[in-house]
């Protein structure tokens, strides 16, 4: 086997694909949540804080109730509260969503660090009841795809359902139409007798729930009931990039998250051959390329419209 083939076989293994799915899941869940607020015309950069809250309260619930379901329940409850809180400030009181998003991120970091130390002490916590990985015997017979999809955390499979539901909701129900209208043409929606604000409340609520799920996946699914301060590690911002790239389409947002996961997995494995500083820039390079693509696509459309 030549050196090149060796590199290829380490970089593109089943493990790479498994990691792609694992790493993409929290980003994808948050990105689908972000798509909701994006459709409603709210630029939500507070997703990172929402993820962190979900991660912490997931572990806290799991610790207090000694069951992963209790953790999931508490994370969801907090997601609802954070979503409502966000809507209260942004929709009801019309604060600048950018500032509130920033505030939410710092708020979440401070609050979770403070509570973590109050409850678990300086050492943080780990080994609380976590959500089990699913073993599907029928999958193990399929080569490559089998091991890639098998033995993943429950959330990985759940995310596929969420993507489908979100797509149906946004594009196939009247609620979805109103949701999109509330961002694009709020006045028209108002004329039709539907409050754009109500749709924005719903969008914020859904975003809070989905981001909390993303956090719970991080601490209870990907890790076994572990919380570390600032463990969201900017996943919320990556999710935001996915939202913009996908033009808030849930399916495309999932694909964008998969791409990030894929390049993260490749980057880790390439480190055996290339400097880590270089592989570390991959997600950011991808973001820049994505953004250039988005802008170019928009301009092309404008030109087409002008010609027509």
């Amino acid at each position: 086997m030549s050196e090149f083939e060796k590199i290829l076989s380490t970089v593109f293994s089943v493990g790479t694909l498994q990691q792609m799915l694992r790493s993409a899941t929290p980003v994808a869940l948050a990105a689908i949540g972000g798509s909701m607020t994006e459709h409603a015309g709210i630029m939500n950069i507070g997703m990172d804080g929402m993820i962190l809250m979900g991660a912490f309260f997931g572990v806290l619930g799991s610790f207090l109730g000694q069951s992963a379901l209790a953790g999931l329940g508490l994370a969801l409850l907090i997601g609802v509260l954070v979503g409502l809180f966000f809507a209260l400030l942004v929709v009801r009181y019309k604060s600048d969503e950018f500032i509130i998003g920033c505030a939410l991120n710092t708020f979440a970091l401070g609050l979770t660090s403070y509570l973590s130390r109050s409850v678990f002490g300086n050492n943080g916590t780990k080994g609380n009841p976590a959500l089990p990985a699913l073993h599907l015997p029928f999958l193990s017979k399929i080569p490559i795809l089998g091991p890639m999809l098998n033995d993943q955390s429950l959330f990985v499979y759940l995310t596929w359902i969420v993507v489908l539901l979100a797509w149906l909701f946004v594009y196939k129900t009247p609620y979805g139409l109103w949701l999109r209208a509330s961002g694009e043409k709020p006045d028209t929606l108002r004329t039709a007798g539907i409050s754009p604000k109500r749709m924005q409340w719903i969008a914020s609520l859904l975003c809070g729930i989905l981001c909390a799920l993303a956090g719970a996946h991080l601490s209870l699914g990907q890790l076994s009931g572990t919380f570390a301060e600032n463990m969201s590690n900017s996943r919320g911002y990556i999710a935001f990039a996915c939202v913009i790239f996908a033009a808030a389409h849930p399916g495309k947002a999932y694909l964008a998250a998969l791409m990030f996961g894929f390049f993260e997995a490749i980057g880790l494995r390439l480190q055996s051959y290339v400097s880590a500083d270089l592989t570390n820039t991959i997600p950011y390079l991808i973001t820049i390329i994505m953004m250039v693509y988005v802008v170019a696509r928009k301009q092309q459309r404008k030109k087409k419209l002008a010609r027509a």
């Binding site: 300086n122 572990t226 590690n233 055996s272």
Partner: protein
């Protein structure tokens, strides 16, 4: 009603901002060393000021990241706490949370007699320390380019301890591949790695060492992915050098049924079934000893770099508390001890990136 809403809104935002500071633990720890204080006050001739319980020394512990990593920073925290418990010292803890290192260092120097900067990030100490000639600084894990009279640099021979960790890893490996997960591609972390590689080669030159970096010190999920990526390359003993992100390495090891090696503190207790040993870097003890010497009136170390290494006992291997599960056999332990003596005597020269 409109202005009312605005005020409520602003208040809510303000409260949110406040919680940010709630997270920064910047607490004054009043010393619990009452007996020593009162004894000192009693021995004074009568007529001395009633403020006899005034601490004799104010010490600030400024850490670059945040506590809760169960290794590097927490070790410094333990050292400071021991000082506070045994001497009339008032300890203030400041966490930078990976930003504003210079400002935090200045804040600490304004109010304290001794400032301990924990982390290689405090490069600005070269500008800050000369501005506070009466304050004694200790810089952990790095050194100033030029000696500064009121700065004591403490660096650690982590390469020597990592050599032993690499030796143990190679001895315990069944696949002939061992791994290491670093926090960042950065000189101190690489110092661990070169020692680790050399140690593994000392056991068997055929052993392959695979490494990667999490590029984060506080993302355990990323640390876990790093370890899984190494496990995919057949590594069956993985050394974590990534602070809190390293927690994920332990989880990956548990999931795959392989072994892990802890770092800085003796981390065996975290998961005794998976963590076979820890590379100890006694940051807390070195701070304790330096300040203790200062209290005794010995400030001769200031203005120089003190290398805390294996010969003076600040770097080594820990196998956990007595009675904990042991995976490393007594023969290997004996061989490790032999290696340790060879490093101390200088017979083995360990590579370094410092």
């Amino acid at each position: 009603m409109k202005p009312m809403k605005k005020i409520i809104c602003q208040l809510l935002v303000f409260v949110m901002m406040l919680t940010l500071f709630a997270g920064c633990k910047n607490q004054d720890k009043p010393t619990d060393s009452k007996p020593a204080d009162t004894a000192a006050a009693d021995s004074k001739p009568s007529g001395s000021e009633p403020g006899g319980s005034e601490p004799s020394l104010k010490l600030a512990l400024v850490v670059a990241g945040q506590f809760g990593d169960r290794s590097f920073y927490d070790s410094s925290w333990e050292g400071a706490n021991r000082l506070a418990a045994e001497f009339p010292i008032q300890v203030t803890q400041i966490e930078c949370g990976n930003e504003n290192h210079t400002a935090q260092m200045k804040n600490a120097a304004d109010k304290n007699d001794v400032v301990v900067c924990v982390g290689w990030e405090f490069y600005e100490i070269a500008d800050v320390a000369p501005a506070y000639p009466d304050v004694k600084f200790i810089w952990i894990d790095n050194e100033t380019e030029e000696p500064i009279p009121n700065v004591l640099n403490i660096t650690y021979a982590q390469n020597e301890g990592s050599f032993l960790a690499g030796y143990i890893a190679a001895a315990m490996s069944k696949t002939g591949v061992v791994g290491a997960v670093g926090g960042e591609d950065q000189p101190v972390i690489n110092d661990f790695i070169v020692g680790y590689k050399q140690g593994a080669a000392a056991y068997d030159p055929k052993v392959k060492v695979v490494t990667n970096y999490a590029n984060s010190y506080d993302d355990p999920a990323k640390g876990k992915e790093c370890a899984l990526a190494l496990a995919d390359q057949k590594a069956d003993v993985i050394f974590q050098i990534a602070s809190a992100a390293g927690d994920g390495v332990f989880e990956a090891a548990k999931e795959r049924g392989i072994y892990a090696i802890g770092v800085d503190s003796d981390q065996k207790y975290i998961d005794p079934e998976v963590i076979i040993c820890s590379m100890k870097k006694e940051v807390g003890n070195s701070i304790y000893d330096a300040v203790k010497a200062l209290l005794a009136g010995d400030s001769s170390k200031w203005g120089s770099t003190w290398v805390a290494d294996m010969s003076n006992g600040y770097v080594g291997i820990g196998y956990g508390e007595e009675g904990s599960t042991q995976q490393v056999s007594d023969e290997i332990k004996a061989a490790v001890e032999e290696m340790e003596q060879k490093i101390i005597s200088g017979e083995i020269q360990v590579d370094t990136t410092r």
